[in-house]
Symmetry: D3
Subunit: 265 residues, 6 copies
């Protein structure tokens, strides 16, 4: 199976670590490509205006490359561009962190809390949780007051904050499961799990394993994305005659192939 | 008051007519600028992937020009980029057709139906109606099976279809108000109103008059957009140091100033 | 445009100040009439049984006078009698504070909190917010523990309480916009806005400007209230033969004509 | 137990039959008083403006007489004035048809349909069902196109229409229970039940038996109406000093005492 | 009327007291049978796996005995087996604590809080309140941190805890009514009511009086449980040929007949 | 990985075919055990009273065997006993058809329709879809009017019915994805997919692949079921001292080990 992980930022400092993480947990027959955007793109997309600057990149990459992949992962907890990317993903299924983590959390406990970086993020993320139908199970969104680019700077501080807010989420809010509300919060779920005694769902691993499952069910059972009604793809002749998607494709960097890495090792 | 109408397509064939319509109904002291996008942008945005191609344009235009305007209107019933544009609109309020028409409809009747172009559009528009909190009042979305670029081609056909589906919406679905679910459906609301005997809300006029109201209340009462929590704008130093929003600004065409037009006449 | 502001209390002590406020903010071509009820009517309607005592007055006044007005404003945050008044308003649109303020707030931020007078008010007001579809955006209703007749007695005390609870609404509850949940809370929104740094929506100004907009769109576009299905008006022959609405009309006092006032000045 | 049935119309033609019906089904120790309004009040309240004309009567009667009763029934499927009447009912519980029938229906089946008189009624009744929390169980409201005053004119016609629409409600809409959506639809539930094979809940009997239960649990267990927060009653000194509720009390006609009738028989 | 109270535990220590309570409050013509399960069944069913162990008992008892009863009460606030028991109850109506108490509370106040034993119970009970449509009125579930078998051990402690949490529910959460969220919380509602000044709904008395009402309306009006669509009962021939329900019937102990008790006294 | 498929019926005629299906689609390292219940258990569980007869079996089997499995699949679209089984599943995750199919469908399209066997099933299944949060996406449940035991009798008839109703679901109801609402509907999804042109989610394959994913994420990431609050397991000492779960364990038949089968072949 081939999976494309879309890291929707430029000069993506975490992309190597993310790729390594995925390589360690992928199935034996999964090949992972990780792509980040051109260097002039925003380095984080905490602001919705930043999201706007890169959503065309996600669509163009997906349109250009979907035939090479069974599944595509959007690497941002805003699930940025999920509807738009899905429209041009062809037969590739598309997953994203908020939808995947809440789906998994709803199978492991009655309630969950999301540890987000900043209060800035809460309205859009709450809206997504509501759209996905899990708002009745979400007992809180707790801000850590840590920005995307800061999560991996001082691991002890980040971890301490997560434990403090995670404990309040469990004890005060009644959360049975914790969700980490940013892909940059990777690397902490196990420690947190040990401290809190409840499952802690990581925002990179969850959509990745979800992508493996959906990529497999697509191939095995023909459960490809629907192309009916609202899921109808744009017509090829319109795309061609208007010259859409072709110009201005961002630089693509294939950072790692997990499969290859492991075979070498 | 100065209002910017953002027509989010390239080679916008209707933009002159839209500008004329707005000029005729604006308040005496309103100046209207109408902007469409660069010619290489999609000519309609029925597909969400097409929306993705122009959302950065909307944000860049808004960021660059918001100081010149009291209010900005996004001219697409998908309310494309509403959250993103609002974030960088500074003190300018931002309106959009779906939010404005449903707000007005909810003051004029208990229920409404939306006449959309194609079934393609329904899921995203339904999602928006649900997010705005009016799903309990929406008795149906009825597709006319007419594309955006076709609405103004054969006026008789378009009008006939609207009457047929509008009548079903009223008689069978129980709609007390009809909403026209595309800005390209302009020019028909009065005929339809006469035929159906219920208010028919136009997707250009509604967000425009809403913008006039919100532009006025902003200036009079200081009811500018909130910049707190989820509405926080991106920090200027980040924008500057990363060079965001500045490059690649689409060509801006100021098509009409309603105020000036009328003063000349 | 002619707008009728219905102050639904007897011996209305604030009615002059309300009229002055509206006169200062109205459009140049707006004439405002402000009506309060007969002296034996309750002086406030915090209790629902008091509402019951005056709802017939609102209907009778509206039935008798709707031809003289483009829009009618119900001056109570319970939106008392909104459904009933709308039924007999003919071509006049009818607005009310809770519906108008929440509609405007939902355009200015993701979330809002309502500063109400007493906890007594919360269940009915919450019910209205839920009916209007904005419950997902309301993060709290905070009681000031000040009664309707007390708001204007000690301005410093009222303002202090508003700042204290407004700050909690913003900081603790996550409100991006504040709504003042009583028409008697007029005169404070600007101070509060300066203190809190978020828009503060006034319960008199919002429905008034909303009425101006809807009055204009009614005249310009024919967007009069629907008279279909649930919005059907009572039949004239029944009203006549049963002698409804005619007897016992409360004393009407036209307190101010904003237009005239300003022309004199 | 003493129960007051409030028939909220003037010149109430059905009130005798209603009283007879209740007398036949009351518990042995229940005394029923049935009150209708002054002759100049509307003869039906299909229109919300008509409701407005009589809601003060309901409040005044309840305020004046609540000490004499254990429970009060509001005899209109709009549940007119339920919130207002409850506020001044003292220790008497108050029931109404829509709330009682939907509560009972939800114990007898998974889904229900309401047979209403005219489409006019649907928006307010739907709103009430939504407020009571039973909208997920309501599969349809079906209009019989029969007005309140016509239900008892041609029994065969009324019954035929009920069977036709009731059958559609069961077979097409999936209703497991039928609710009769008007107190004037009395006398048909048994025939309809035989024809349709599902329980058919009558709009007079349901709130009456509910009132008997709540009247009993009030006396036995002290489960009187809450007087806290939103249920707080108006203060006596305000009522007294402002002279509320006392003037203009409508003529009260005690039409029947079921208990007495039966003791005589 | 004959009512069966199903106490869904083995070695039921409270069953005598429950029977006594019901005997004291039943109508003169009500005969009560109270049944508990075989001694090897769980002594409480706080855990859902324990519920699973006894749900077949409830169904078998109901199937075997429904012809002897007008109404059946399931004595557990989880409303364990309500859907399943209703399916085989024939003409007997079935009530349960959560559905009955929330229905009654919604008639006595705008909001309620449930005092549950342990946090363990909250997710399932919340789910039920949501399914019954009363989640908008529930302001909190407050755990007393007292297990089912402990409620009646130290009455002072239990009562103190109830007063502490009940007061917080009223004062902090805004509850107008309190619901006792366990049948083992019997015997405290009056004291609590005196302390808190709001109605306190008992989890045994409420479904019992509800059962009396529904048993009466079934007999008087034919409002038996629907047997249509989802409420269809299993076919007799299948039950017979497969030998379902007959084997392994738990030991039935008729502990008290209230009617007989009182006649003897 | 070891997965247990619980077929919750006795004399399970399809169990061999189900086991074969799973064996063909499992991952190389998955071992599947399929268990059906004792012969005296119901042969289908269309009726909720039948569900009640086997839910203790599911709990007992799960309690006894959970240490042997990474994941457990409940093989009935009612998701019978899901909450109860999850409580005693230890570290094994538990999946069920309705929750898994709706989760997958929500990733493949905007809307879905469920093809159920009989109208009988709709209320409980609708309730589950509502509890899982996908009711906004479900455009219809369409009954095939085929019972569980009939699906595999006349394949042509079953398939024809599925195509007829599936086509209506897509064309009339607007479904973008079809869900097969019974595990006995296996074997048809590919044909149906070819006919309808939308993904058709099978009720056996979906929860099985979901179980493989969750079994893997449990082992890899420690995402075991939460045991906090509502997910707390019953205490061992209570289980032991009361002798719960041990007696009366149903006969267990391990029908197939997919891994072994394939290795032999």
């Amino acid at each position: 199976m081939r999976i494309l992980y879309l890291d929707p930022v430029g000069q993506a400092s975490f992309v190597g670590e993310i790729a390594d993480s995925l390589a360690q947990v992928s199935r034996p027959d999964t090949q992972i490509d990780v792509i980040s955007l051109q260097p002039d793109r925003p380095r984080h997309i905490e602001y919705h205006a930043y999201e706007a600057l890169i959503i065309a990149d996600l669509v163009r990459i997906t349109y250009a490359l979907n035939k090479n992949y069974d599944a595509i992962v959007i690497g941002c907890f805003y699930d940025v561009g999920l509807r738009e990317v899905r429209e041009v993903s062809g037969k590739a299924v598309v997953t994203a962190p908020c939808q995947s983590t809440t789906a998994i959390a709803s199978q492991l406990g009655n309630t969950f809390s999301v540890l987000v970086g900043r209060r800035k993020w809460i309205p859009k993320m709450s809206e997504n949780v509501r759209l996905y139908g899990h708002d009745h199970a979400m007992v809180s969104m707790r801000p850590l007051e840590i920005g995307v680019l800061e999560f991996q700077q001082d691991h002890d501080y980040t971890c301490d904050r997560m434990i403090v807010e995670g404990r309040k989420a469990v004890e005060e809010d009644g959360a049975e499961v914790i969700i980490l509300g940013c892909t940059a919060e990777f690397g902490f779920h196990e420690t947190l799990q040990d401290e809190l005694g409840v499952p802690v769902i990581d925002a990179i691993l969850a959509p990745f394993k979800y992508a493996e499952m959906l990529g497999e069910t697509a191939k095995q059972f023909g459960w490809y994305p629907s192309r009916k009604w609202g899921s109808e793809a744009p017509p090829q002749d319109e795309i061609d005659s208007w010259g859409l998607f072709h110009d201005d494709l961002p630089e693509i960097k294939t950072l790692v192939s997990a499969k290859a890495e492991r075979e070498l090792a």
